[in-house]
């Protein structure tokens, strides 16, 4: 219990940490106070160049990136330019240390923040310094400490735009360099390869805690088919009885359980011998003179005139359930069916329940802690549950003794009994694909008596 409580607390704490630096959809267009592009002096770029570069910055903001670009000619004497810029050497800017670059860009941000909200420091600044010799132009990125992770941008792919810009700068094309760099930056926003999300300390702790849970969950999943296989191999101690069995019971042995096909076959037989007749309204008319398992079980639902209404026929599978249960019990008592069916079923259901519980318990912390092992555990458990479900639906209850009884019966049964047997055993095959305007009356009748309603 303590482990669960600690896990839950870790999950709650981890959930409060946002996956992205910014809340909400970081891909939607964004507006920030900082102007898109400023040059010092104003006339540094031609109108066309200015407009083209602005278009690229706008494109970035439309993709949710708070980007601003500043281009400074070192010879400009504007008051808006921070002092640190003017302290830069007039030539050979490439010799600047990283600390000097950081200091320069930080000075700019201190003077003119580029961010989505005051104090967020989540903006991205491209500062372009243009010395007298334009081929020495340098571009510096300043990525706010809270800017990344952001869409497909990474520190690496942002930095990788610098050589692109420098290639143009070296030819003296300042505007084109900035433009090309921003083109690449814009592509990276949408099509770059983002960095793998790192786990926080809390997520790491949770991730470690998930390892045993993942293993247990997977084991619960694996246990289901293993236990089912083990249960299936247990032999029954009941010796086959030698009593006479009906065609319906033999059909149930062949099917492996007393399915609704058996009771429907009994109903068809009742219709054949005249004790039950279908009515125009989709109901069944019971003969007052006849008795028998299906007639008896239907009679409480019939009117004074012996009509079982259509609404009851639609529920006929539920109404005839007592016949099936009784027949199953009888077949189990004589050894034709395993007498452990219910116990086995309970075991498998219990295991499935445990696996489901473990999945429910683990799914949120596993996702929050990004535990691939946990996902594997869940997948294994889901497969196990699916297998268990399939087993419960399709497992045959028939024992070896039952198979012997059936073989003996089939050798001696009359043609009429063989037909009754076939009526149940092959019934599903008959109704499975029928329908449409060319369906035979028999098919419709069988479907109707299965409670399947419309055909």
């Amino acid at each position: 219990m303590r482990a669960i409580t600690i896990t839950m607390l870790l999950v709650m704490l981890a959930l409060t940490q946002s996956a992205a630096a910014r809340d909400g959809d970081t891909l939607v267009p964004i507006e920030i106070d900082a102007p898109l592009l400023i040059t010092f002096p104003d006339s540094l770029l031609t109108e066309n160049d200015f407009s083209a570069i602005e278009g690229r910055i706008r494109e970035a903001r439309n993709s949710g990136v708070p980007l601003a670009v500043r281009v400074v000619d070192l010879s400009a004497n504007g008051q808006d330019v921070p002092r640190e810029i003017h302290q830069l050497p007039g030539t050979d800017l490439s010799q600047l240390t990283q600390a000097q670059i950081n200091g320069t860009t930080q000075a700019w941000i201190d003077q003119e923040p580029v961010e989505t909200t005051p104090g967020a420091d989540d903006g991205i600044l491209l500062l372009v310094i243009v010395p007298e010799d334009r081929t020495q132009t340098q571009a510096y990125w300043r990525i706010g400490p809270n800017a990344l992770p952001l869409n497909s941008l990474t520190a690496g792919n942002i930095a990788a735009t610098v050589p692109t810009m420098e290639a143009q700068f070296k030819q003296g094309f300042v505007a084109n360099g900035v433009y090309q760099g921003l083109l690449e930056f814009g592509s990276n926003i949408q099509f770059g390869v983002p960095e793998r999300r790192e786990r926080t300390t809390l997520q790491d702790a949770l991730h470690t805690a998930m390892i045993p849970l993942a293993i247990i969950t997977a084991m619960a999943g694996v246990a289901i088919p293993l236990i089912a296989w083990r249960l299936g191999r247990k032999s029954t101690n009941v010796v086959a009885a030698t009593e006479t069995l009906s065609a319906w019971e033999i059909a149930a042995i062949e099917i492996g359980r007393v399915s609704p096909a058996v009771t429907t076959a009994m109903l068809l037989e009742a219709i054949h011998d005249g004790s039950v007749r279908p009515t125009d309204g989709g109901g069944l008319l019971l003969s007052p003179e006849h008795t028998g398992p299906v007639v008896d079980v239907l009679r409480p639902f019939a009117s004074d005139h012996g009509v079982v209404p259509r609404a009851a026929v639609l529920e006929i599978e539920g109404i005839t359930q007592p016949i099936r249960l009784e027949m199953e019990d009888h077949l189990a008592s004589i050894g034709a069916f395993t007498d452990r069916a219910r116990t086995d079923r309970t075991w498998i259901l219990l295991l499935m329940g445990i696996a489901t519980f473990l999945i429910a318990l683990g799914i949120v912390p596993i996702v929050v802690s990004m535990s691939a092992l946990g996902i594997l555990g869940i997948v294994v458990a889901v497969l196990g549950i699916t297998w268990g479900w399939w087993w419960l639906e399709h497992r045959s209850y028939t024992t070896e003794a039952g198979t012997v009884m059936m073989a003996a019966w089939l050798e001696t049964a009359s043609a009429a009994d063989h037909n009754r047997f076939n009526l149940a055993v092959h019934q599903t095959f008959l109704i499975e694909q029928t329908g449409g305007p060319n369906t035979s009356a028999q098919m419709k009748l069988v479907r109707h008596l299965r409670g399947l309603g419309a055909h």
Binding site: G186, P278, L314
Partner: protein, 468 residues
Amino acid sequence: MQFPKSNRLTTTVSGGWVGECTIARARIRRIDLTIALLIFAIGFGWYLSGVESQDYHLDESRWINRAHYLEDLADPFGPTWNHQYLTRGQPPIGSYSIGLGLVLQGQDLETNPAYDFRRSREWNQQHGTFPSHDDLMAGRRWNAFLGGVSAALLYLVVRTLTNPIGGITAAVFFLSNPLEIWYNRIALADTTLTLTLSLLYLATIHCLRRPRWWLAIAMGILIGLGGGNKFTPLALSIPLAGIGGIILLRSWWFRLRNSGIQDTLFWHLPPLSHLGWMLISTPFVALATFVASYPYLWPDPIRRTIYMLNFRQQEMDNQYRLNPRFQTDSPLESLHMTYNMLGNTWSSTLQIFQWLQLDRIGDLLSQLDLWLAIAGTLALVVIGLRKGIRSPELVIAALIVFQMVTVILSMRVAFERYYLPIMVGEFVAIGCAVGYAVAPLMGAPRDIDLHVRQADPPATPTSQEVLS
């Protein structure tokens, strides 16, 4: 009251027809399988014959680019599934499908970068965003294959509802439709959706004919996969769950009034094996499948789905702005445009007559597709209403109409690919119209030996008895 006697033939016994019917069913099943395989072979060959000559579609770059999503599924917390443009922009099922197609043909999943629509074609060419010929052809061949499978499935859907003539008609209309021909010969995700919807229709019919949980879950999964491809199919779970709810309530009501039924869950609710529960489960299974198939959603399924929906809306607004020719301003206008496009531009009838060099007749009859589809849908509704709410006909009609309404309501630009999900229903309806029309010519089925004369109605009003 005189109880009427059975007028069975004295020479037969109960169940004697089973053997004959079983043989007949086995034969029919073999024939159906043969026809379906034949349709698949024709469809696959037909689509395949045009993959080389088909014009390049810019979206193919994106779909082939995202083929790597398939292998990235093995790393569900990897960078691919971060909140980023491509991953947020499009659900991944179509990408998985293309990836699977490439892998099955021996291609790797390292393909071209994605086409950037903000840049010029030259820029994209320079940056290698066009897929290689091998990748492109592999993607197209895969869709040709899926198109062939879809044609075979459409045959089975309509054949199961009506008869082989109806099924063949649906397949012929599908295979000759110019829009389907185009999209099944290029490497986009729409063929996968067509296949998913065809499978959904088939699973739905079989589940209603004989309710089974695995089919109900398959239906939910197919809807989820459809949603994971193009969103709108998620709406198909609504009519299924609604019909399931009505069936369940009706059964519950009966059980509340007849406490003699032992087979109940609790509070006299029907057991879990009841069809109502199965149909009600479809939205839950669909949503679970949608989320499970898309690791991007895992950290915050609701919020990220909303992000996606908002993005799709934003994209639709952009397309609306950029494509005045395709703008629609109201559902009525969308409906009108759909009618016009399906009836005149993307008409199978028109295409068939054009192949026969009878263009003028084709022009005159081009709207036959739609008229047949309307007739088929109406026939499904009428037959469904007569049979009752559990009839596959009614549910299939509901799915066809719901898919169409969802697309039309969400449409702001009438791009041709938006019609593809509608067209799956259209072909089913066309096939049904023809299938029902020729049914009288198919010969009545023989009632072999179990002659059941329906009982005379009882003297008292049946309705009262039914209510009691």
